[in-house]
Symmetry: D2
Amino acid sequence: MQFLSDNAASVHPAVWDALKAADTSDSPYDGDALSAALDDRFSALFGKPCAVLWIATGTAANCLALATMVQPHGGVVCHEEAHIEMDEGGAPGFYLHGAKLMLASGTGAKLTPDAIRAVVDPIRDDVHQVQPHAISITQASEYGSSYRPDEIVAIADLARQRGLGLHMDGARFANAAAFLGCSPAEAAGPVDTLSFGFIKNGAMSAEAIVFFDPMLADVAHYRRKRAGHLQSKGRFLAAQLHAMLDGDVWLENARHANAAAQEIGSACAARLMHPVEANELFVRCTAAERDALRGQGFGFYDWGDDAARFVTAWNTRAEDASALAKAITSL
Amino acid sequence: MQFLSDNAASVHPAVWDALKAADTSDSPYDGDALSAALDDRFSALFGKPCAVLWIATGTAANCLALATMVQPHGGVVCHEEAHIEMDEGGAPGFYLHGAKLMLASGTGAKLTPDAIRAVVDPIRDDVHQVQPHAISITQASEYGSSYRPDEIVAIADLARQRGLGLHMDGARFANAAAFLGCSPAEAAGPVDTLSFGFIKNGAMSAEAIVFFDPMLADVAHYRRKRAGHLQSKGRFLAAQLHAMLDGDVWLENARHANAAAQEIGSACAARLMHPVEANELFVRCTAAERDALRGQGFGFYDWGDDAARFVTAWNTRAEDASALAKAITSL
Amino acid sequence: MQFLSDNAASVHPAVWDALKAADTSDSPYDGDALSAALDDRFSALFGKPCAVLWIATGTAANCLALATMVQPHGGVVCHEEAHIEMDEGGAPGFYLHGAKLMLASGTGAKLTPDAIRAVVDPIRDDVHQVQPHAISITQASEYGSSYRPDEIVAIADLARQRGLGLHMDGARFANAAAFLGCSPAEAAGPVDTLSFGFIKNGAMSAEAIVFFDPMLADVAHYRRKRAGHLQSKGRFLAAQLHAMLDGDVWLENARHANAAAQEIGSACAARLMHPVEANELFVRCTAAERDALRGQGFGFYDWGDDAARFVTAWNTRAEDASALAKAITSL
Amino acid sequence: MQFLSDNAASVHPAVWDALKAADTSDSPYDGDALSAALDDRFSALFGKPCAVLWIATGTAANCLALATMVQPHGGVVCHEEAHIEMDEGGAPGFYLHGAKLMLASGTGAKLTPDAIRAVVDPIRDDVHQVQPHAISITQASEYGSSYRPDEIVAIADLARQRGLGLHMDGARFANAAAFLGCSPAEAAGPVDTLSFGFIKNGAMSAEAIVFFDPMLADVAHYRRKRAGHLQSKGRFLAAQLHAMLDGDVWLENARHANAAAQEIGSACAARLMHPVEANELFVRCTAAERDALRGQGFGFYDWGDDAARFVTAWNTRAEDASALAKAITSL
């Protein structure tokens, strides 16, 4: 009973079908019909024009998105536990040519206008200090917390005031949207670019970079090729994105994962380090308790010495979630 | 009847089977069993120890391989029509942090020791000029020519003398090996790193970077992640590579493509700009002749004003190749 | 009798005086009064508004100027013998984060619109090929040839048409302006940025980067600091630039060097590889002839096997120039 | 009475003399006799072989030194208030091609083995996290504290254990050496590279990068040119370094500045935020007190809301120091 990560979850049947269906002759790279249809497809989803590129990883999605808004001599304000800071092997340094990550604090790995101002305001406007060029927030956050639409608007307002770009790392955007029960447009808010994750949520190897400013997408097309991310059989990536949007598979899958997380969370509310607002749970428990759970066949990561992280996925079996809920309750 | 490129060819059934078989729970990234087995698998193929990373594109394969041997202040000697110079959107500049491509000439897009010396020898050994750190050759070359084993040895000898790394862009390595009828080890020769291409030859989205010096692979692991190329469901890339090696699918597919190219080439020997030593044909013909061929349903690229490029693939139908051979003969 | 290079020539007395005069307490970096006065000073010289940064080397001047106009995924069209390609140790690759130099041919190391089009026109407008972002020309050229004002206008027109920035490497701009006998504004033409060289011409360690578009200067200020080129006692660099402009020292020095070159050139017109339009001479002569000259105490560089390069400077003594002229005549 | 910074202090007479004396014909770049003599000169000073490059700024010195030890995918452990983190405009990101600064805490802006371990130990040895490649410490620190020889040895021991390079930012190395009263070799300890500052201490525009491992210097030579820092009249930078070492001007100047700082510090011991171990004082005082001091003609920076920073220099007049000491006492 695996709760280690949604990262390596299996591939949704609809994605398999789409992949097989795409195995026909078509133009290479992103010259195929499926790739060409992405802009319209996501524009319809968000109810506003956007340009969309497929990409094989969330790390590349984040970095290419940021590279369109941040010059090499600038910086990106992000949370000190943001994925781009902690888990991308220095990819932002590579893609942004040495631009700086500027670390802000905040509960639940979420930023607030105040937290951003605390980082940005002390920076003297002179050449000795790196100036911020953009802000990056994660929806849902690295601790499974979801930004409410008005919270994003407040951050976007600050970004506009300060002339900063705004990026959303949406590796678990679907889970946030499902939790919030709002439209995709509301869950994204007025960001400039969104890394819309699908891989954790049932795709095999395709994420979407969504540009709400088409000019940014133009640069991203060059940068994607330059990063060796323009796959020659790009139709197979585009196909995955279409399959995930068809019939709202992306949303259904996220709802499923979230529901499992809620069930487990309800069973251990007093132990939760963060509210469960997506598909991750951070649960206080002793080493002995973790041993006990592992002894019952549950897989998960330790989170420091006094907690465990459980992640549900689109394919978490209902009985497994119930079993885990029960096991934690019985500790 | 498509002879535009092997780039977008369909996916081999064995690869599909392997992909489906890989859709089980396993560790993310390259922590899965299939990824872990690659070193042994390719070491057996080449008859010597090597370390292997999967990667989604040939551009990334080339650049990551070179990045292990070339410091940012150095250079790479390559042919002036090499893929890394002409067709990778500046990816070498990105991955090598501004290192320089040093362009050599040579018939059939092949380098020789003399051509390399003509580039390297005039470089003064002072800090005002970029010093070469590596050589990159393409097997089969961008004009479908294959390096003979002794030609590679001669270049490798020069590389060793000058303290240069040696990389082989093997986007069509299989076609070269099939043409040469020699072992993979002989077709690669004593290079330090090989970008072993599978995508043009029946895979969906996986190439192999082969390091015959395992120390280089260590750096490449970090750089792959840093480039956003460490896919979370890496088992699906590893599976493709295993499927291509199983039962020598890679070699069978290349033989098939080569045979089709040979048939067409035999039909138009006098028109050939380069000998047919892989699966590409560069055929002299007028614009009117090209129109005539297109009128008969053949797809291909113009090659300048006076020639056409035809590419066969693992899935080129025998009847299509024969039809093209006949059509060219009849021009 | 030294004709090796103007690179290491001594420092003009007016520069020494200015340096000493600057040794008073003032603000660090470029916060001093002398630095602050540069914009106005050069705006007056060129008769149009410009923003100016001091910088310690021509290489850094060229690269910082280009970095304001060229994105990392773009390219710079320059002559295949341009200083940025041949002699800057890969600095453009560093400062432009891997952008590509696109090499054009042309007599006397000068570009023409046709030569630029020959490089730019074949580039397909797709992501597989690096797109040009700027053009760089050298005034006077690496072979001592000077662009006529209308030649620069023609190149600038092409640049505007294609949306490319235009940079002038003016390491010997003074010599070109002196030769042309036109105003600085005419000698620079409608370029966007000019690396205005002073070091070869009598300064100790200060060049000027002139931005005719002040927005570009803003980025350059950040990039200069980021490159470790913002010296803490910047007033000493600013002082040199003022001293060189005061009383047209820059122009007088260049005229002196040019006159010496003309005298030598007149003595060996039949041997000249390029017209003498600045302070460099490329003179055909045999190895034996070069030995003879060296035997008479003349210092210079061989230029390949069959020629020699002589460079005059602001401090070339009249008798030395006459002696060289006579010696060549007598060969 | 200026106590703002030592950054823009005037130039020592011995330096002026050396500059004038260097204004003879010699080879360009670092081919002159003065530049060539630097290795021996500093080897004698440190009592062990080292290779030395002149460079125009401390920022470039630090970054070039680090670039020889840190690969682009690695990181540098430094104090969170280190100059390279706070005040170099992102230069480390540029020179290190996106490598990461890893911030440690510590009193007085000094690192300890424990503080370094607190940063390094939690880093998982996997490709998702940037791995440290080097440590950088500042002597004297950004708060005017000096590392004792045994403290450096302890850090160096840790560096060796972990396979990390060790760099010392010695912008005020002279002040630390003067304070410690030990040999330069002891004040530097077993570091791999030292940015040895002279500009704050009486030079005009020359710092030294000292490599105790000559292999590192080889790379630095290429990187210095590549960064546009190889000045054509390099003899003027070398001359400054020689002048500063001749007759221990560097040490005398530092002693003078330190003595002034000690006098002031003695007058306000209870107000000091940090011990005075070089030429900087961080003094608690209210805004009203600062106004009072400024009213008496003293120049200095506010340090947050409740303190002031005073910096003495080689040319601080004794009467000014006494006046300041008295003024603070009288507050």
